[in-house]
Point group: C2
Chain length 151, copies 2
DNA sequence: TGGTATTAGTTGAAAATGTAACTATCAACG
DNA sequence: CGTTGATAGTTACATTTTCAACTAATACCA
């Protein structure tokens, strides 16, 4: 395992501090715990959860809006929308001015599911937040929003 | 971005501050940028990258070790190991004392790939770190390690 | 007009992942 | 021994995601 091209490179790189890796692992760990609450009860995937929450939280919008707000690819959103439509959680409405668009809006059932999951999400987030001080929480979230290109 | 809709409902939950969501989005955004460097050049997936880096950074170990250190499911690791073996980036060696185990170790090619990608990763991480102050970086990484159940 | 480029969204095939069951090896205990 | 149970790793099958076309509607511009 000796490498003749070794140029005395300092081996300072530490995987456990590499941000993309850390973000993915912590994202998987935290999400997989929370996911059971909607997967078992509603048979929903993570992407479907995202779409539901965007509509529930920010009101009616197009698939394109969800794509850009959630930095999610349009095929993922398209399929999630179809699935949620099949569950009768949302409806589509063609824009009469520009018929390429369709506005998505939650049905009563969809809104009910959103509100129920919203409570669970709030509780789950509180448990996670409890691990840190208010200041750490603020910094953590601000950094993450910046990395996610939010704001 | 628009603020919460004050339509009457007490809407305290904010998606953009929900930790699992934030972690996933920021993880996807940061990883997808970095991923091109190993996907195009080595045809490697994210899981394969993980396995390669664990062996490169921490030395020979079993698949089980990688599973627990990277919090990755054993089927993912198993397939990544097979793929990396097919690329001649690693070899397996049955443990003579307990033949259920096999120790994985990088080949010369695997180590070369690791070192090349290591430089890119270090550079990439520096660019990300530059967005924050040293203190923010320290807090961010410490929080993430804790969420990931590291240490 | 008409031709070209964009944009919103869908679809099919290939790749990756998740889940559960499977093989093989070893340990513990009668 | 032999049975039971645990552990390392693989495999089969279903689901999800990715990637590259694709349709349909609109915008731009000569």
């Amino acid at each position: 395992m000796l490498d003749p091209m070794e140029t005395g490179e300092p081996e300072e790189f530490d995987l456990k501090n590499f941000l993309p890796y850390l973000l993915n692992i912590s994202g998987e760990v935290t999400s997989s715990g929370f996911q059971t609450s909607y997967k078992e009860e509603y048979g929903m995937t993570r992407t479907q959860w995202r779409v539901l929450f965007h509509l529930g939280r920010y009101g009616d919008m197009t698939a394109r809006d969800i794509c850009s707000r959630a930095r999610t690819h349009k095929t993922k959103v398209s399929r999630a929308v179809s699935a949620l439509e099949g569950m009768r959680f949302l409806k589509r409405q063609k824009d009469q001015n520009d018929r390429r668009f369709e506005t998505l809006c939650l049905t009563t059932d969809g809104d009910k599911a959103y509100k129920a999951l919203c409570r669970k999400a709030g509780q789950f987030d509180s448990e996670l937040s409890a691990k840190f001080t208010p200041k750490e929480n603020a910094i953590l979230r601000r950094c993450l929003r910046q990395l996610a290109d939010f704001d």
